[in-house]
């Protein structure tokens, strides 16, 4: 049984459909990457999975249970974590408090998970008493991912985790994503840096106009001349 299984998902904002039948399935040990041109519905798909917009048709299964149109706080309880692209930290709260908020529904996790997150992102330990808003872009992204990981999700949704980061931090984040996955968390992320992202992807989904154009392993998509020509800039 796949960890996440989305079938024929239709949805959008206020009657306007952005997703016109998207299929997406990943296993617990996989990293899934969604790529595609602007307006293809990549971020919209993540939001649909996390219950942030109305799914009008189709179904989304998490560990076999239907979860479409459930509110985010229920999904957090069911083992899903979401890191939005922007506004993904609490700027006036300290780094430690940001992480504590991630485990709001699982207060027993706090102590044990704080130690793990600090071990995983050492810069956060050094800056744990600083307001998160004062951190650099890359460190903010670590706070955002750390917050989502505090609840020990089975599935982590990342919306453009490397947007606006320098190449050094970008590679760092990709490496971390792989490590998180190796620790047993399924990952589904949207990426603009398609080549690098598909390089670490077990599964790649190329979306266009709210539909699947290509679905394959990351390596196969990178090797496919059609994908390269139309979506990876040659």
């Amino acid at each position: 049984m796949p960890l996440l299984d989305a079938r024929n998902v239709h949805g959008g904002y206020g009657g306007m459909n952005i997703l016109n039948g998207v299929d997406m399935a990943i296993e617990a040990n996989e990293v899934g990457v969604i790529v595609g041109p602007n307006g293809a519905g990549k971020s919209t798909m993540l939001k649909a999975i996390f219950g942030l917009l109305n799914v009008s048709q189709g179904e989304i299964l998490l560990n076999g249970d239907p979860i479409q149109n459930q509110p985010p706080n229920k999904l957090v309880r069911r083992g899903m974590g979401f890191v939005p692209q922007e506004h993904n930290i609490f700027p006036s709260l300290t780094v430690k408090e940001n992480l504590q908020m991630g485990a709001y529904l699982k207060p027993d996790n706090v102590k044990r998970m704080l130690a793990r997150i600090y071990e995983f992102f050492p810069p956060l330990h050094d800056k744990r008493h600083q307001p998160a808003g004062e951190l650099s872009g890359g460190q903010r992204q670590m706070v955002a991912m750390g917050r989502a990981l505090m609840a020990e999700p089975d599935l982590l949704l990342l919306d453009e985790p490397t947007a606006g980061l320098s190449p050094r931090y970008m590679n760092e984040i990709f490496a971390r994503v792989k490590e998180i996955n190796a620790a047993g968390v399924g990952i589904l992320m949207v990426e603009q840096n398609a080549k690098q992202a598909l390089g670490i992807a077990d599964k790649g989904f190329v979306l266009a106009a709210g539909q699947n154009r290509f679905t394959d392993t990351g390596a196969a998509l990178l090797a496919d001349p059609d994908v390269a020509k139309s979506f990876l800039g040659g």
Binding site: F50, P72, N73, P84, F90, P91, L93, E97, Q100, M101
Partner: protein, 335 residues
């Protein structure tokens, strides 16, 4: 030296009294703004409601306090806080929540709170009448005159019992608020929601609970402020309504969204008021003989007359909005 005691009585004590009351009101206003993003104009009347509940309970059980040695109104205050918190949550459920669910603009919420103001004031008038009444039904207001043990000082420092309760409760509330916001899980969640409501929801924080907690805190503090104000002067149905301007000035001076800024702002406005109405001629009087002969000391040398005291917070409000709209601490700008 007598003049210095005058200064202590009229500026230090009077300023701390209004400062404490403004601070407790402004904390409520700022908490409500940071969670629900609207200026709650019915706050003054929530304070009046708290005082009115104390009046009601004290009238019903006038002798209750003497049994344990505190004034009955003080004894009744915790109950009034619970009732006012209940009222605040009830008002939110009935009037504000449906509007929020519709996603209305903040200005609609502000107008709704104006409606609540008129409604509360009307209701209180129906039951309490339009005149003033003392909260001391069976007790007597203790006035302490503390003589200064320095030769030649004839004027004592004057402080009343409700003022002492006010100072003590203000200190307790500030400390309690600090620990609540910085240590408790709920307090941190409240700050998180103020920072980023969407992410708070995505973290699994129940925003309805946070809204309710905000009203409980704001209502409880409003009841304390309203009661102690009415104990300091006398209960009137529109007394706290006229504090709305200084309270908003305090919240904005402190930086909207900063509870501790609101406390600082409350004292800034309170002291500014008492400094502005203080007769500075008094302090110059001892030097009368050394002043040049042509300079005759006027009888009253205050910046503004007591009857125009309301000018002071208004001036502070306008000045801060023009020169530093985010307040002392960098806060949000009320829109």
């Amino acid at each position: 030296m007598n003049e210095l005691v005058f200064f202590i009585n009229n500026v230090v004590i009077a300023g701390s009294v209004s400062g404490s009351i403004y601070a407790m009101g402004a904390v409520g206003v700022t908490l409500i703004f940071s969670i629900m993003r609207f200026a709650h104009f019915a706050h003054g009347d929530m304070m009046t409601f708290g005082a009115f509940m104390v009046l009601l309970l004290t009238t019903l059980f006038p002798g209750a306090g003497s049994a344990i040695g505190v004034p009955t109104p003080i004894l009744m205050m915790p109950l009034a806080m619970v009732l006012t918190a209940g009222l605040a949550v009830g008002i939110d459920r009935t009037f504000y929540k449906p509007l929020r669910a519709h996603g209305v603009k903040p200005i609609v919420m502000v107008i709704a709170s104006l409606g609540v103001t008129l409604m509360l004031q009307g209701l209180i008038r129906v039951f309490a009448g339009t005149g003033g009444s003392s909260l001391y039904v069976d007790d007597r207001k203790e006035i302490f005159r503390l003589p200064i043990p320095i030769e030649g000082v004839r004027v004592p420092v004057v402080i009343t019992e409700p003022q002492l309760y006010l100072f003590a409760l203000t200190i307790i509330c500030v400390i309690a608020l600090h620990f609540f916001l910085s240590r408790s899980r709920l307090g941190k969640a409240m700050r998180a929601m103020s920072d980023n409501p969407d992410l708070a929801q995505a973290s699994g924080i129940n925003t309805n609970t946070i809204v309710a907690v905000t009203w409980v805190l704001a209502g409880g503090l409003a009841a304390i402020a309203g009661t102690l104000l009415s104990l300091d002067v006398t209960f009137k149905p529109d007394l706290s309504f006229f504090l709305l301007l200084p309270i908003f000035a305090a919240a904005i001076v402190g930086g909207v969204g900063h509870p501790f800024g609101a406390i600082a702002g409350g004292f800034v406005v309170g002291f500014a008021e008492s400094l502005a109405v203080f007769n500075w001629g008094l302090l110059l009087r001892p030097f009368r003989d050394s002043l040049p002969a042509w300079l005759e000391l006027p009888h009253n040398l205050a910046f503004v007359g007591t009857e125009y005291k309301i000018v002071v917070p208004f001036f502070i409000l306008v000045a801060i909005l023009v020169w530093r709209p985010t307040g002392i601490f960098k806060g949000k700008v009320i829109t």
